[in-house]
Amino acid sequence: MFRSTSKALLKLASRPSTRTVSSSSRSLSSPTPANLAANAKAAVVSPTPTVATSSLLKNTREDALWTPGLLWRDEEAVQVGAPPPDAPHLVEADLQPVEAGGRETTKMNMYSAIRDAMSITLRKDTQSMVFGEDVFFGGVFRCTMGLADEFGQERVFNTPLTEQGIAGFGIGLAAMGKTAVAELQFADYIFPAFDQIVNEAAKYRYRSGGMFNVGSLTFRSPCSAVGHGGLYHSQSPEAFFLQASGLKVVVPRSPIQAKGLLLAAIRDPNPVLFLEPKILYRSAVEQVPTGDYQLPLSSAEVLQEGTDLTIVSYGPPLYTIEGALHLLKNPTEDIQSLIPEDLRHLSVELIDLRTIAPYDIETVVKSVNKTGRCVVVHEASKTGGVGSELAAEVQERCFLRLEAPVGRITGWDTPFGLAYEKFYLPDQLRILDSIIETMRY
């Protein structure tokens, strides 16, 4: 599962007339030789995958370049809202060896990929600025390392310790035509900025009849659990922003995704809240294209195709789901009796929502119409969460196709208690249980 294919490459070779490769044509079901080898090994031992060993992460240059939806921005300068040049998708030449003019990739973790996106922005958009608490020395998560040295402290700077101030300041910059990339040090501390984000940034365009806007503003904020963050270093506040019409909300799952989605967010003509799952900063490592590219906003990605059940998620739980699906297929002895034989070869479609608002319902609906069953997984609490929103839309649009209620596997409706994290978060067993419950309904 989660594999990319060499078949599509063959397809590409056999279609020399189409220069542009539709990234979605690369199916996820057939293995590359490397993955085949890994699979053969897995048949013997099969340790449950973690972020470090996840097949969701692309470890080869070829896989990285095949990232669906990848859009090259080769222009020397890119302003917010500027449309991309013609035919910017993957072409055969990109896949040639680097020496022969092919695209380059390099191994990066997620914070380096985010840093890379900001570096490209600062280089190609002379109006851009990056700022926030502790940004100057490199940021508490290292996302701005070296940027102040490279681009000067007029453009990469520390701010006083005030989230509402940072958000409002960013709005002012953006309203004056600057490209503002504001860091709010922890998503748990975003709430003083709530007024500026929800009432100001999100509504700036609408309230001025379209005369003013702050589309060139992006908020970056590290979010979600890390294992030891407790109440105030673990929260996933995305659902609070679902009702802020005018604001987009994005959560990336990996380095390639983070770089491409952040560049898209910065250049999108709307303010965007870019929530970075901090547990992935170091742990998620991929071959990342070194050039300038974007990935589409408001577009979910099907990570694995399937026909029996749809699982929708975003951010770190995707890796937990990967582990749960592995356990479903290869249950360890202690849980074997709880996993019905007939479900072990369940065909699951896994969707990464990526953009939380406005989200891509079509991909979800298409999938649920095929599978008839749906489970949503996220870290944030259940009530009023993204899962509630998706469940409502799915039942409205797929009512006659549904074979079971839409499951929501989420954090409980409590604050995030430090010592209870293991049993607060949706983990592999809770996901596994929900798969069984949904299939047995």
Partner: protein
């Protein structure tokens, strides 16, 4: 105060021929109070300070713990009148902090606790002030003020229980990260990580004290770092305290850094103290590394706050010798040499020790130092080991205290039931078994939900 300063600044900046005249614009006191137009000038007056030069920091001891010769008689007497037991307790509490900090921060490095924050360098500001408050003055702290709890004899066992999230953690029931202490018995409101939120809360608590029978002689103490004063809550809190009154002390530990951000990038102007008069709040700056000066300034501030039922702002100038937290490596943004020189030249613990040793009847000695350290270290290690071996609170505590009331609210009741079902079904699995046993009562307790 303002008109006089205004006049001074006019004299300096306005070499105009017309004699300066201030006319009272409104006669009724209520309007005068509500309007800034209590006096007028006939040419524009731009001011950038309300105090001539830099606001001085009150200091009585030099770096070697010697009483400074320029301290006026009145304050010299006040220094000398500090009871011996206060001085000794102050020293013992200060000296205890780095011992505990070293043990706990290195235990974090070993993965035995998840997080820690030290008080290195700020022991004098925190303990010196704690000694000035009444034991039942309400404290709203930020997070680097464990010295206040130690001064109030908060049990070391409770402190370790919080740090280890043990079943004995009454402060947060295992819910908050280490150092988020709290104790209603010690009038110390539980720490919350968001910065500055405690400032308007303190203003509200002070207003409440005004109408709480039996608390007429108490006050509220709000601690914060200079970084937190950039939050909007600082303005909201000080302005509300000023307008609505109530006995309150806003104590700013200006330690020079908000994580990596130096004070120079946090504010311009004459520190935080300069803001006090802008709110009409009596303000004092003190050398935060001089525990005696901190103590005396706080005693005086408290007297004014309680007698006047009003806020007082204190800015204690200190230096964060340690890293921000165990998640931070300050070598990435400041030179280790600079930190070392501050440690050597300006240690609040050393200053107080020298002072105590230099008294006519010395209150401290090398022998006492050694025996105290040994005794303190032993006490820390005993409680440390006990807490480390203790179980986490029962898993049910995850759902507790979200709302008040005897019964869980409907969603929580349902979700707790769902978790029980899950644990009964999967609890034996390798993925959950060991983790369940860490909680008080383990899986057994869950089956009784």
């Amino acid at each position: 105060m303002l008109p006089r300063t205004l006049a001074r600044s006019l004299k300096r900046e306005q070499p105009c021929a017309t004699p300066l005249r201030f006319a009272t614009a409104f006669s009724t006191s209520s309007i005068a109070r509500l309007s800034p137009l209590t006096s007028v000038s006939h040419s524009p007056v731009f001011i950038d300070k309300v105090h001539e030069g830099t606001i001085p920091a009150f200091r009585v001891l030099d770096g070697e713990g010697k009483l400074l010769p320029d301290v006026p008689a009145e304050w010299r007497e006040k220094v000398q009148a500090i009871p011996d037991e206060v001085l000794v307790k102050m020293y013992r509490t200060q000296a205890f902090l780095p011992l505990m900090d070293t043990i706990l921060s290195s235990s974090q490095r070993q993965g035995r606790i998840s997080f820690y924050m030290t008080s290195y360098g700020e022991e004098g500001a925190v303990v010196g002030s704690a000694a000035a408050w009444e034991p039942n003055d309400e404290v709203f702290a930020q997070y680097r003020e464990v010295g206040v709890l130690l001064w109030r004899d908060y049990p070391l066992s409770s402190l370790m229980a919080q740090v280890f999230s043990s079943v004995n953690d009454e402060a947060t029931k295992g819910r908050q990260m280490p150092i988020h202490y709290g104790s209603s018995k010690h009038h110390f409101h539980t720490i919350s990580s968001p910065l500055g939120t405690q400032i308007p809360q303190g203003a509200g608590a002070a207003y409440a004290l005004k109408s709480t029978p039996g608390r007429e002689n108490n006050c509220v103490v709000v601690y914060m770092g200079e970084g937190a004063t950039s939050e909007g809550d600082f303005h909201a809190g000080l302005n509300m305290a000023s307008v609505l009154g109530g006995p309150s002390i806003f104590f700013v530990r200006n330690n020079g850094f908000a994580i990596s951000t130096p004070a120079a990038q946090q504010y311009h102007g004459d520190g935080i103290a300069a803001r006090g008069p802008g709110y009409g709040i009596e303000t004092v700056r003190v050398d935060g590394n001089d525990p005696i000066a901190v103590y005396l300034a706080c005693v005086e501030a408290r007297k004014r706050a309680v007698e006047g039922q009003k806020p007082i702002l204190i800015e204690a100038m200190s230096y964060r010798v340690g890293h921000h937290s165990t998640s931070d490596d300050s070598n990435a943004y400041r030179s280790a040499a600079a930190v070392d020189s501050i440690k050597k030249l300006d240690s609040p613990i050393f200053r107080l020790r020298r002072y105590l040793e230099s008294l006519p009847t010395p209150l401290w000695s090398t022998e006492l130092e050694e025996s105290t350290k040994a005794e303190q270290r032993k006490a820390i290690m005993v409680e440390f080991s006990k807490a480390e071996k203790t179980k986490k609170p029962a898993l049910a505590e995850m759902f507790g205290d979200v709302y008040g009331g005897k019964e869980l609210e409907r969603p929580l009741k349902e979700q707790k039931k769902e978790l029980k079902r899950l644990i009964e079904k999967w609890g034996h699995s390798e993925l959950w078994k060991k983790d369940l046993e860490k909680f008080d009562g383990g899986k057994e307790a869950v089956s009784r939900w």
